[in-house]
């Protein structure tokens, strides 16, 4: 069976087409202002890449902040559910998921069956999201990849006072004026957001294995800061930014086109599939 998962996020759309557990194609593109259009365009491209026609795909499930706008999807599931399914697919021993995207950061407690047991979210504030890193990178006039590498060079921890992406930018500028080294500033930026993400993660409890996904997981500097913040080992899978879409595809496979998640802890043993 061929299925597709679409993660329509605040900054990027990720699409993955899966056949019997194998990835046929995976693509990503900026979501821009018109999310529906961006998803549609990217889907057409992904099908082309996989050498498929629309009819070949049995079911499409969407997720992400703009999941509802994906017109060609049969159903939409919440991000937390998609993350849980996706992570469970690639690492069944995972029990904690930390997903930091462009506009939201969330921590999810999952069961061995890939169900959401509890979650906590950082939303509506850029400071706990990838947007914060983007803004600081711009203030430093440094691409994010370089920011990550610089951060790993630093041996000096400087706390940031600002807890806001806008005020943070001014703080970074004044650190530059004070001739603070770029590696130290880069690390300060990553430590700052890691502090916020770590706090949210602690709300759901940190049980091994801890897996980090979402676009910000591609940032080694951030992951390093988060490891230091939590003092625990964190696994970052390959293509961490595709795991949400993978989870949506997994839902499509299972015939699940809608799901509700509650931030209520239930007995792990009694959790059932579907």
């Amino acid at each position: 069976m061929i299925v597709a998962g679409v993660d329509a996020g605040g900054k990027n759309v990720h699409i993955i087409i899966v056949k019997d557990g194998q990835t046929l194609a995976k693509t990503m593109a900026p979501s821009g202002i018109n999310k529906a259009e961006a998803a549609e365009k990217l889907y057409a491209e992904t099908l082309k890449q996989a050498g498929l026609k629309r009819e070949d795909v049995e079911r499409v499930v969407a997720t992400g902040s703009s999941g509802e706008r994906v017109e060609f999807a049969s159903g939409v599931i919440p991000d937390a559910a998609a993350d849980a399914r996706g992570v469970n697919r690639i690492l069944p021993s995972a029990r904690t998921v930390i997903d930091v995207g462009a506009e939201e950061g969330r921590a999810i407690k999952i069961s061995g069956a890939g169900k959401v047991l509890d979650f906590a979210i950082n939303e509506k504030c850029a400071a706990g999201t990838g947007t914060f890193v983007d803004a600081m990178a711009r203030a430093l006039e440094t691409p994010i990849e370089d920011l990550a590498a610089l951060s790993l060079e630093s041996t000096n921890a400087i706390p940031m006072n600002a807890q806001c992406a806008v005020f943070g930018e001014s703080e970074v500028v004044s650190l530059i004026h004070q001739k603070t080294s770029k590696p130290d500033i880069a690390r300060a930026v990553h430590d700052a957001i890691a502090g916020r993400v770590g706090s949210v993660a602690r709300i759901v409890g940190l049980e091994d294995d801890i897996v980090m996904i979402g676009g910000v997981a591609l940032n080694n500097g951030f992951v390093d800061s988060l490891r230091r913040e939590l003092k625990l080992d964190i696994t970052v899978p390959e293509d961490p930014d595709y795991i949400g879409a993978l989870g949506a595809a997994a839902a499509a496979e299972a015939g699940v086109t809608e799901e509700t998640v509650k931030a209520t802890v239930v007995e792990r043993d009694t959790v059932e599939e579907g």
Binding site: A120, E123, C164, G195, R196, K262, A263, T264
Partner: protein, 104 residues
Amino acid sequence: MIANYGFNDGSGNWFLAIDTDKCDGCGACVTVCPAGALEVGDDEYDPFRDEPVAKVVDGERKKLKYTCAPCQPGYGEGPTPCVAACQPGAISHSEGWKLVYGKK
């Protein structure tokens, strides 16, 4: 005088309030706070008050959402340690934690 320490942003209202008319500066809350977020000192908002009051440590005020979260204000098993320790009942939390993290 009610001093609200903390902030509000897009994600909610995160304030810890101290009623200085009730607070006698005993410091019980300072001892029990697991985050070390409280201290006793001069009343910053009444320059003519000589008795000390409890207040939130300056460095925690802008992070209060995360500082107080582990104690589950408003939705935990019981009151937070600082609230439980305060005899005059001078401390309270805003609804932010309960609304965003409270179990549904």
